[in-house]
Symmetry: C2
Subunit: 328 residues, 2 copies
Amino acid sequence: MSSVDAGLPDDALLAVVRRGALVESVHRGRLAVCDPEGNVLEAAGDPEAYIYARSSAKPFQALPLILSGAADTFAFTDEELAVACASHNAEEPHLAAVRSILEKAGLTEEDLQSGAHLPLYRPEAAKLLRRGEEPRPIHSNCSGKHAGMLAVCAHEGYDTATYREPGHPLQRRILGLIAEVCGLREDEVLVAGDNCGVPAFALPLRSFATGLARIATGEGLSGENSVAARRIRDAMRGHPFMVAGTGRLDTELMDSTDLFVKGGAEAVLAVGSREGWGMALKISDGAERAVRPVALAALGRRGVAVPEAVSNVRGLHGEVVGEIGPWT
Amino acid sequence: MSSVDAGLPDDALLAVVRRGALVESVHRGRLAVCDPEGNVLEAAGDPEAYIYARSSAKPFQALPLILSGAADTFAFTDEELAVACASHNAEEPHLAAVRSILEKAGLTEEDLQSGAHLPLYRPEAAKLLRRGEEPRPIHSNCSGKHAGMLAVCAHEGYDTATYREPGHPLQRRILGLIAEVCGLREDEVLVAGDNCGVPAFALPLRSFATGLARIATGEGLSGENSVAARRIRDAMRGHPFMVAGTGRLDTELMDSTDLFVKGGAEAVLAVGSREGWGMALKISDGAERAVRPVALAALGRRGVAVPEAVSNVRGLHGEVVGEIGPWT
């Protein structure tokens, strides 16, 4: 029984994990590359089926920072705009930028409702535990997004206590913007709860890839949306570390290419190129480990100079026990 | 393109992760239930294709402890035999049992070559970091298996420095036993490196399920293998905590049913029932989160009283954001 037989979207074998002479595990997924007009340039699996964009929607969720004028009023730096789009590692520069956003907007860490989890970057998590501390909302990978949302609320006079609710004016505005940028009606974007407590958005893979092409190029957007999209894109491109951090794919790819890149939970990846395309990827099983090889292979097919897509898997003694790579 | 089109084993949709109104992620896999004669009682996906048993092979890897006489010579308790079959949490009772095995065999922690990783049980990992310590080989989930292997070497006069090598007499003996118990020729069992540095074994899913049925019942085995298998089974059944630990599926299922249960890396699960069957499960993508719902659904179909197979997924604020459950 394939997924499509079961009424679920058709996907394709995209990555394999080898051990010894055998394939030990496999990862399936869906991928769409689109231009700003919505034409599908490449697809694997069904490009019309929905995905939850999760944190890959953060660049869209940051657009009101520009459109409202909050970024100018509060004089946010590009580093701060980048961390507002981040799923960050909670390394010191990330925390400093989040604190600065809050301070400039007249708010404090107490206002953050991002939920708490240990820093994504393991050495930072270990340092925090060694200090005998518990993680706070600022350590959440989403704290920049929440700080940015709070700053828009402060600027617009929206309530800052209820900013996470789907009916809050900021969240309504974000929903409208995502629909507009991706060429959908608002009721075609489905809303659920993200793990950090704000709305998560689901939309067809093709529409998401189209929106990414538009953010990357500024094409296909209204004048003010185009200006806002390019400013967000340039802030992320200018500060790859702020968008993720040490050892993270988003940072690595933005450091080494001219793409803009944003990952999301459950193995989503959003990529945009100034050359006129956006790419949206979803690994069907949500495995983060498959995103890198699949993305590198897909980017290679688009002519982007990328590192080797196959990487070794090592055991506890440092020995190579296998490899993970794209299925070709 | 389905996996089978690509020359990889056919699998089946087994679990779904829902968020809001949509399925966000899916897990495919293979499952076989066999009797001790090797008849397939139930299958999903191709039962003849190979899987790496990984840590699900530990009960087989512990058989030489009984067969060599080491368990009797060193007066190992059932708790110690259980931890020799464990992927343990590195909670204090696990560490104490591993130390006791080593001490009784005239060895020390220094002899362990299990590699080091943080305790699987997060509170233990946090405690270790808060004490400013680094994980040692004894904290490895495999340290009981390694201690058991070392004890056999000490008893048999095998070299204890090279016990991890595939050509070492103990590893050759284990390979022969796995083949024999599962009804295969030795050259039908494929060997690669496990992450802890000892051989990992690959075999057809059906053969593995058959071997599990034999260990669970003692049927279909030579006299001494039957005695050894039942002693290992009873040690695990008698001490479910020692096989895994707090919050772990193996422990939960052995506490609440009369099955014997052993999980393995890359989402493998081995189950045996005295009622005359063994079940082997492999989630194709290696996702541990899918093992529980798929196993509970499969066990329910076999008439085992099990908890609800669907469980909530919660966000950082404790709210329900979705659920994971078997695909039905």
